[in-house]
Amino acid sequence: MTGTVNLWALAKRTAFYLLVLAIIVESVFPFYYAILTSFKAGTALFEVNYWPTMIAWDNYIAVFRNGSFPQNLMNSVIVAACTVALSLLFAVTAAYALSRVRFRGRSILLLTILSVSMFPQIAVLAGLFEVIRAFGLFNTLWGLIFSYTIFTLPFTVWVLTTFMRDLPIEIEEAAIVDGAKPWTIITRVFMPLMWPALVTTGLLAFIAAWNEFLFALTFTSSNSTRTVPVAIALLSGASQFEIPWGTIMAASVIVTVPLVVLVLIFQRKIISGLTAGGVKG
């Protein structure tokens, strides 16, 4: 009797771990294969194998030898960092107004902000292109920063507004009694309490700006202003019939590493911020 029970339990556990394994393989395998490919050289690229057979740095060297790639990487860093800084600045101030200042049409405004993010990128592409041309931002990094900020703001505003709404009103009132003006309240009282939310939304905005392709392709026209995703897509081989898979994979890996590092650094912050539960006075 107990034998069958144990067997059944064992089967359930095995099934569970098999499922976990399947999910992990499913999500990690494409990235793993990219890394694998990036270390291959020459014709080895076209052999299918699942374990590393050789470690060759040729592709990585080739990527950095490719004239504009370091520049593209730099562009990506600048664009993503500026987007995060701008959208957090606007979002925090907007969230204060939307969560703490009573004014007519507040909830309609909130819904409008949300509805902005419902349009697919392609729908606003032509209009945004005209706007960027009109401002003279075409083929500049500012054009990208501008358009990415537009697309990350609805999300950041919403998350920060909900978070700020949950901060106890008495803390703000205590600050008012202490003589703090709204800007002081935001920077010295609210922002320290909002680190988890700021880090999370900032990280997501960074990833969105870092990986964005369509706008980056449309709003830039020269190698010196392109960001990494476009640069990778436009990498070309020795002839027009050759797609340089090796260098493409190497470049992709290089581009992903900063994101992974960022997430790992800030994930700790997110968790520590949440468990500190510092909101209750």
């Binding site: 106890p168 008495e170 009132e173 205590a174 008012i176 009694v177 202490d178 510092g278 006075g281």
Partner: protein, 338 residues
């Protein structure tokens, strides 16, 4: 050192009027307590004085200067909140120093004042801790300390003891009373729904009901000469006994009220009589509940313990001239002689 004058203060939230014309003078250095049932507008009135809400109409004066348009910090008030409202990410020291830092006081001056306040409240050992590392009572002391450091002209307390447990509440109440004695001439306004807190702390009590002042007076004035049925029922524990109908008619009143300590048990010929339905022994006192045929049983207070048994029929009579008579509108009638 500041006296306050409230003149016909009104406050509406949308169409709802919450404060319906309050006129009140608060003397310099006075401990004034606003008391009333929940929803009577006492906290709103305090927030109007603090400047956290805008006054809809009427004037508020500090030392004869109208302060209606001034921000809380410019009015020179400090406030202690029910939920402490400490800044969770700052140490106790920074919590207390924040207001002075914003006012750009010198570091040395800030340190002196914070340390003095901390010593006064015995929280010096906790200055480097965060609020979350403190107990409820300690947190409330930090909140009081933060108010002291601001060196305010008027101290405002918004139900500061409601979040504390019973023993701590009594201890902190004593602290606040001592604080008022030691800080000469600081005007304090204290909001509570607990009439015991009001009685023990106040120089004068202001009883509010439904956005209007019901009565203002010293605790004993309110206890001995309530100017309405509402105040009579609200002040005092246990509640004043109320009798109406035929019981009141013989005193030519619509309702009569008598406190539990003003009823005596007689051998015979009581004014009222009935069986004991319940008794509570508190050690120093006993409360006997006697069903004399009125709506609620009469509560009779006796010193020490009582030997009265459940069901025993008692003869009761009022002591001396202590029957409060009220008319149909709940207003008092001239002092009784039966």
């Amino acid at each position: 050192m500041t006296e306050l004058h409230l003149k016909d203060i009104r406050k509406s939230f949308g169409a709802v009027e919450v404060i319906k014309g309050v006129t009140l003078d608060i003397r310099s250095g006075e401990f004034m307590v606003f008391v009333g049932p929940s929803g009577c507008g006492k906290s709103t009135l305090l927030r109007l004085i603090a400047g956290l809400e805008d006054i809809t109409s009427g004037t508020l004066e500090f030392d004869h200067d109208v302060v209606n348009g001034l921000s809380p910090s410019r009015r020179g008030i400090a406030m202690v909140f029910q939920s402490y409202a400490l800044y969770p990410h700052m140490t106790v020291y920074d919590n207390m120093a924040f207001g002075m830092q914003l006012a750009k006081s010198s570091k040395e001056q800030v340190r002196q004042r914070v340390e003095k306040a901390a010593e006064m409240l015995q929280i010096t050992p906790y200055l480097d801790r965060l609020p979350k590392q403190l107990s409820g009572g300690q947190r409330q002391r930090v909140a009081i300390g933060r108010a002291i450091v601001r060196d305010p002209k008027v101290f405002l307390f918004d139900e500061p003891l409601s979040n504390l447990d019973a023993a701590l509440r009594v201890a902190t109440r004593l602290e606040i009373a001592k604080l008022h004695h030691s800080m000469n001439n600081v005007t304090m306004i204290y909001v509570t729904h607990d009439q015991v807190e009001a009685m023990t702390l106040a120089d004068r009590i202001c009883v509010l009901r439904d956005g209007k002042i019901e009565q203002v007076g010293t605790p004993l004035e309110l206890y001995e000469n309530p100017q309405s049925l509402f105040v009579a029922g609200f002040i005092g524990s246990p509640k004043m006994n109320f009798l109406n109908g035929k019981f009141a008619e013989r005193y030519r009143a619509s309702t009569i009220g008598i406190r539990s300590e003003h009823i005596e048990v007689k051998e015979r010929d009581g004014v009222w009589s009935g069986p004991v339905v319940h008794s509570e022994m508190l050690g120093s006192d006993s409360y006997i509940y006697v069903d004399v045929g009125s709506e609620e049983p009469l509560i009779v207070r006796q010193n020490g313990t009582t030997s009265k048994q459940l069901g025993e029929v008692l003869q009761l009579a009022p002591v001396g001239d202590n029957v409060h008579r009220f008319d149909q509108d709940g207003r008092p009638l001239a002092s009784h002689s039966a």
